[in-house]
Amino acid sequence: MQVVWGRHGSSRVERKGYVMEGKDLLEFFDKALFISNLKAKTKEKSFNELAKLFVKTKFIRKKDIVLEMLLKREKLGSTGIGKGVAIPHGRTTAAMDVKIAFGKSEEGIDFNSVDKKPVHLVFMVIAPTEDEDNVYLSVLGKLVEIVNDRKNRNKLLKSQTYEEFISVFDGAN
């Protein structure tokens, strides 16, 4: 896989000669990793709420290791990328596959984002320490590209069901 990176919205991901499309992200989502209305009011609590889903679905065994990794990642700089979106992410020895959990907050959560705006869409991306073709970075890049599009963000904000949520990615290039 060849990855061609850029700033927000300009990342282009190629895997063996073809450009990764939005629908390619579908394999990393799971209905059991979807929350249409996050209860959490803080960044840390939202991490906890989403990490619990990974344990419940047995993608990971213990959430503490993942939480530790995610909180350390936040020390590098907020994963709140602006425009109401946050993508906490990281590789962990505790994970076997790349997976994305999603939670939507109607109220908004303070992530100390780059634009200081509250976050309504939280994508938690966890990945194993090693993955074939470095899929993890491709997934992150594609996700950033899709949520950077205002139309996609609006659709995600309106989505109430998992089916409505994934249709945004299914329809994205």
Partner: protein
């Protein structure tokens, strides 16, 4: 709060990988400015790990890409050797640090 030695070693490996991944993540467009903080976090974590375990972790790091590897279906995913079943319960409890008899890597029970 992590306190078991194996959990601390796993946190250390995750942190080492994070430090290594910084540039890639930055290129995607994420905010990355606290590299020094991360190094400080590593130093603090290292202090909590028993010296023999830490020494072993660092030594394995010079030999392999990853010092700690997952065990899946009783197989070490570092060298693909079968782990004796007797170790399964002990390994899964995370109470001890168990190494693969084949490659020496530290084992983490994924399931």
């Amino acid at each position: 709060m992590l306190n078991k030695q194996l959990d601390l070693l796993v946190a250390l490996q995750d942190l080492d990988i994070m430090i290594k991944d910084i540039e890639d993540v930055k290129q995607i467009g994420f905010q990355v400015k606290g590299r020094k903080t991360l190094q400080e976090a590593r130093d603090a974590l290292v202090k909590k790990i028993n010296k023999p375990f830490l020494y072993n972790y660092e030594k394995l790091k010079t030999r392999y890409k990853r010092s700690i590897v997952p065990v899946k279906d009783d197989i070490c995913l570092g060298c693909f050797m079968r782990i004796p079943t007797v170790l399964f319960t002990r390994g899964r409890s995370d109470k001890e640090v168990i190494s693969c008899e084949g490659c020496g890597r530290i084992l983490y029970w994924y399931e």
